[in-house]
């Protein structure tokens, strides 16, 4: 399998995505914003469509759209007088509607679009790998440096505000990291499933971990494992890679839940 160039590239990009998605998703789950990745994904779809229409790189257009969408969700959530998940719903549906309109205008309702919606390892190029690796490394570095602050603030946001900590800036940082992750990960798992890879490994890890740091570490392990196992399975069984990866992650959740229940009974 690895003698094929496209599989080597898929595994390399997949490894970055497998580590990055849960590492960023950890903070979303921790804030009970598990679906934000999905919202950003739908804005990324509008970005891809805009890329086709304007004849610029759809991947780059998706990155710009994701970043904009993430900041919009955060702004609506904190300043825009929206309640609960209304901010997410607004951006989510506006994104998908804009995407549909742009795509049909560009006459791009075809196979090319499917590779963004469902992921396509066949289309990963060396240039993609460089972009993914660079963005992934930058995002992971940001997570590593800001981990203590990001994790600490999620435990007690109001207490952090009382003490004058820059809570809003940290929230924007998480939103930007999530947007970058979506733009990077959609190459492998597709826009429709990108959020799953950010969230499922974290929920699985939370079932068995005994600390926050352990949850993060385990989530990254589950994410990486799911991508590598999913890609391998999809190659030999001729399955859709994105879906297979997410199903592996979902299976990890089932196993972790059972393990957590058993451990809890001891």
């Amino acid at each position: 399998m690895l003698e094929l160039e496209f599989m080597r590239l898929a595994f390399a990009v997949g490894a970055v995505v497998g580590v990055l998605a849960p590492a960023v998703g950890f903070f979303l789950v921790q804030r009970r914003q598990s679906l934000v990745g999905d919202g950003i994904g739908h804005v990324a779809f509008a970005g891809v469509a805009a890329g086709y229409l304007l004849d610029v790189s759809p991947a780059l257009a998706a990155l710009v759209a994701s970043l904009t969408g993430a900041v919009a969700i955060e702004w609506l959530r904190t300043r825009g007088r929206t309640v609960g998940d209304q901010a997410l719903a607004l951006v989510f549906y506006t994104g998908i509607a804009l995407g549909v309109v742009l795509v049909s205008s560009a006459g791009a309702l075809d196979v090319n679009l499917f590779q963004y919606l469902f992921g396509s390892i066949l289309s990963v190029s060396r240039g993609d790998l460089v972009l993914v690796a660079a963005l992934g490394a930058a995002a992971l570095l940001a997570v590593a440096v800001a981990y203590r602050g990001l994790a600490g603030v999620t435990l007690d946001e109001e207490g952090a505000r009382v003490q004058g900590l820059p809570v809003d800036r940290l929230n924007v940082l998480v939103a930007l990291l999530a947007a970058t992750t979506v733009a990077v990960a959609m190459r492998i798992v597709g826009i429709l499933l990108v959020a799953a890879l950010m969230v499922l490994p974290v929920i699985a890890a939370g079932r068995v971990a005994r600390s926050m740091l352990q949850t993060l570490a385990l989530a990254v392990a589950v994410g990486l494992g799911s991508v590598l196992a999913g890609l391998t399975l999809s190659y030999y069984a001729d399955l859709a890679p994105g879906g297979t990866i997410v199903l592996v992650a979902a299976a990890c959740f089932v196993v972790a839940s059972l393990a957590g229940t058993v451990a809890g009974r001891r």
Binding site: V29, Q30, A146, R148, A151, D156, V202, S211
Partner: protein, 251 residues
């Protein structure tokens, strides 16, 4: 109207908290608090009680600069509350239902989060900060449970962990909102003793806000009852007998 008892506006150590003529309404025309004057000196241990809906949480939010008064001024550690530069000195324990997070945080992780205002947000915790965190955990008697996930501890132990979190910022003012919710009677008494000890040994000002004050009545030297305004401010033993049950505070 006079400013709260014994408040000298330009003294070298400003009062921990000072409200002058403060009125506040969430809905215009329906004030939650009217013309409130309250001064709390540094080093005091004060219980703020009153019926639910009486405005004590609003008073607290005003004091911490989370709300702006419609009228009057709020000084926190001698500076306007919303722009206070000494916020890191305020250890705040929110109502338990508001303490968030999905992942299983350990006692140590929770307490370390309380150090953020002093240590900065980036990079690993330095040795001195780690020492303060360990000391805070030791002070509340949780050293042996430091690595345990918080959710595996009893309600009383969880509250002690949150107090340690507040202590980790080396606060000069400790504010606790409904700290006894979901805590059994023995643990409530232990909590009150701990706060008394922190007040005496660390010299920290303690504001204890609760709808009931039975647990701290033997420890505080001052009790403030809030119901739309301040209806009582004095030593607990001077409280009219009928009011000892806070549900009678409207009588």
């Amino acid at each position: 109207m006079q400013v709260g008892a014994g408040v000298a506006p330009r003294s070298p150590t400003p009062p921990a908290l000072e409200l002058r003529g403060v009125s506040f309404a969430y809905v215009p025309g329906r004030p939650v608090l009217e013309r409130v004057d309250l001064g709390v000196e540094q080093g005091e241990f004060v219980a703020i009680a009153g019926p639910n809906g009486g405005g004590k949480t609003t008073l607290l939010r005003l004091a911490l600069g989370l709300e702006r008064p419609d009228e009057g001024t709020v000084l926190l550690l001698g500076e306007p509350a919303e722009s206070c530069s000494r916020r890191r000195e305020v250890g705040y324990l929110a109502q338990r239902s508001q303490l968030g997070g999905e992942a299983p945080a350990t006692v140590r992780e929770v307490v370390a989060a309380g150090r953020l205002a002093r240590s900065g947000l980036l990079g690993p915790l330095r040795r001195r900060d780690r020492a303060v965190v360990d000391e805070a955990i030791a002070r509340v008697g949780l050293t042996e449970r430091a690595r345990a996930p918080l959710r595996t501890l009893s309600g009383g132990m969880q509250q002690r962990a949150f107090i340690a979190k507040a202590l980790a910022s080396e606060p000069s003012l400790l504010v606790l909102d409904e700290p006894t919710t979901g805590v059994d009677a023995d643990a409530q008494e232990a909590l009150a003793s701990l706060l008394d000890e922190l007040n005496r040994e660390l010299g920290a000002t303690v504001l204890y806000v609760s709808h009931e004050f039975g647990a701290v009545e033997g420890h505080v030297r001052r009790l403030v009852l809030v119901r739309g305004g301040i209806v009582f401010d004095g030593a607990p033993q001077d409280l009219p007998g009928l009011w000892h049950d806070p549900s009678h505070a409207h009588a």
